[in-house]
């Protein structure tokens, strides 16, 4: 009996240590980025594009990368909504319960979710070669859309599957078509879940570097056309960190701080939206 108790306490201790270690890792990462990044922050970082000699430590900021990333992630997110929403509505409203197509689609979203972003980058690159595009904002958008739409679809599907069948039946009984039910009942009922899914996908899109490294390229200017290269925050961090000049490395920390801030904001608004919008739902 005593041995059992010792073992119980030993493992309980180990579990606590593991949990604390993992949470400490998170705090350490955020802490390091804040401690290193905050002192390197200044107004020029977020308000100017790189000036001559920026990569040697001279004047300028990373407005090009901030805007590039925002454009890229926003457009990709919108395109993903346009793909994900119809797909998931079809699976939940049109497809028969337990249909093979729905089963196969859900399986393929799971598999797509697991494909590394560098593979999406390489695939985006092959599409660009096929279409004769150069590294451009459009190329980046193609790759990032492919990367994030499975994530979004999977997340929206999770919520739509929870909608009770009675709700749909009530709508049909009133004479609504499936399309009207989909847009007026299903979307409204799963709105908080959809918003969360959109934010998750946006966060993934803005933080990913491997998928844009071939496709979006890099430039010191703010992109003004879909066919021009676009700078992105993760790549700006990567390039700045790789220079031997301390001032430029400082800027990498500041850029990392900005990116982390965006991710934290996205994550917080997810929480907030879920709380705020769930109160109007029919349960």
């Amino acid at each position: 009996m005593n041995r059992a108790r010792i073992e119980e306490n030993l493992f309980k201790g180990l579990m606590l240590i593991s949990t604390v270690t993992i949470l400490t890792c998170l705090l350490l990462i955020l802490g390091t980025i804040i401690v290193k990044g905050l002192p390197a922050m200044n107004w020029a970082m977020v308000s100017q594009i790189p000036k001559g000699g920026f990569y040697l430590g001279k004047e300028g900021g990373i407005l090009n990368a901030i805007l590039g990333s925002l454009y890229l992630a926003t457009i990709s997110t919108v395109l993903s909504i346009l793909i994900s929403l119809p797909v998931v509505l079809y699976l939940n409203v049109y497809a028969k319960k337990g249909s093979r197509l729905a089963y196969f689609s859900r399986f393929s979203f799971d598999v797509l979710w697991g494909i590394p972003s560098i593979v999406y980058g390489a695939f985006g690159f092959t599409i660009m070669l096929y279409l004769g595009l150069r590294a451009s904002l459009l190329g980046g958008i193609i790759a990032v859309t492919f990367l994030i739409f499975p994530i979004m679809s999977r997340a929206i599907d999770e919520v739509m599957r929870m909608i009770p069948a009675e709700l749909l039946e009530a709508s049909y009984a009133l004479g609504a078509t499936r399309l009207e039910t989909a847009f007026k009942i299903v979307i409204r009922q799963s709105l908080p879940g959809i918003l969360t899914a959109v934010l998750i996908a946006f966060g993934r899109g803005i933080g990913d570097a491997a998928s844009v490294i071939f496709t979006a390229g890099f430039t010191d200017y703010i992109p003004y056309s879909l066919f021009r290269p676009a700078a992105t925050l993760p790549l700006a961090i990567f390039f700045q960190l790789n220079t031997p000049i301390p001032e430029v490395q400082e800027r990498a920390y500041a850029s990392a701080f900005i990116l982390t801030l965006i991710i934290l904001l996205v994550s917080l608004s997810c929480r907030f939206l879920t709380k705020r919008f769930t109160k109007h739902l029919i349960k």
Partner: protein, 297 residues
């Protein structure tokens, strides 16, 4: 009026079905696209030579992926070796022991860990893990390391894999009926004995699936590894040596890829290899997880 509504419904159905089919076929489209671009090099060199030759001299037309494959293998192995015990213990704690309040507080934090971009993990690795290994761990063990090594990359990857494994294991543990736990407790088993002999045994296939998903995540992770692993195209002799994993190779050479003949083909072949391996892992673990889900229903 009614006809118009029905027509709209039908058109929408066709359009949506088209998108569903497209998204279902995307995996095949990606595989085909990469294969099509990798074909020039596959036509010239036998696959066995590409996979198992250690000679990487693109300018001379030698494309041996072996050092990169082994590099990926090492980095992934170290990451999983660290990640599995930590994430299993944490998942068991959160699902079996922790108070509901603790669970609700930690869930968003673990989600946040999953949401941090890999480039942030990379910069953290360069700032914290690399110096730690260079200045403390390697001298302590009597060896030399620049810090940019298999071990550093493994540690950072382990942290990135934590949320993947924890998330899936918690789901699996939740799916185990409480009656089983009650029965075991009623027989006089302690909580840990119940977990060890009943819960974990029942959850074993799900845990395997979670670990396999973790492996595939670590296998394809690019930016963090690119920044930390050191990128030397040689077989690593110990965990303190640098490695050059496959994803890092692809990402690092995007600039030169069009100027050297067959280089782009070789790099897209590398992506194809990555895709095939990750796909294999993913399909395997998803099948296990779907079986578990079915058993419950």
């Amino acid at each position: 009026m009614n006809k118009k509504r029905l027509l709209k419904d039908k058109i929408a159905a066709k359009f949506m079905l088209g998108l569903v089919i497209f998204s279902g076929l995307l995996v095949f489209l990606i595989a085909f696209g990469l294969y099509y671009r990798a074909k020039p090099i596959l036509d010239i060199k036998p696959l066995g030579q590409l996979l198992f030759s250690s000679s990487w001299r693109p300018l001379r037309g030698d494309f041996g992926f072996f050092p990169f494959i082994i590099g990926t293998f090492w980095v992934t192995a170290v990451a999983i070796f660290i990640a599995v015990p930590f994430s299993l213990l944490t998942a068991v704690y959160l699902s079996e022991y922790a108070h509901k309040l603790v669970r609700e507080l930690t869930a968003p934090l673990i989600d946040l860990l999953a949401g941090i971009p890999s480039v942030i993990y990379g910069i953290w690795g360069v700032l914290v893990v690399v110096p730690l290994i260079k200045n403390h761990l390697a001298p302590f063990l009597g060896t030399f390391s620049t810090g940019y090594s298999v071990l550093s990359a493994g540690i950072v990857l382990a942290i990135m894999v934590f949320p993947v494994i924890i998330h899936v294991v918690i789901e699996v543990l939740r799916s185990i009926p409480n009656e089983l736990r009650d029965a075991s407790l009623a027989l006089g088993a302690t909580k840990w004995q119940t977990v060890k002999h009943v819960v974990l045994l029942k959850a074993l296939p799900g845990i395997v699936a979670a670990v396999v998903l973790g492996v595939s995540r670590a296998f394809g992770e690019t930016m963090a590894v690119l920044m930390i692993a050191g990128n030397v195209a040689k077989l690593p002799g110990s965990v303190f040596d640098p490695a050059y994993p496959l994803p890092a190779l692809i990402a690092n050479n995007y600039g030169e890829m069009l100027s050297v003949p067959l280089y782009d083909s070789a790099l897209l072949l590398a992506s194809l290899i990555l895709l095939v391996v990750v796909l294999g892992f993913n399909v395997l673990s998803r099948i296990i997880l779907i079986r578990i889900e079915r058993r419950i229903q």
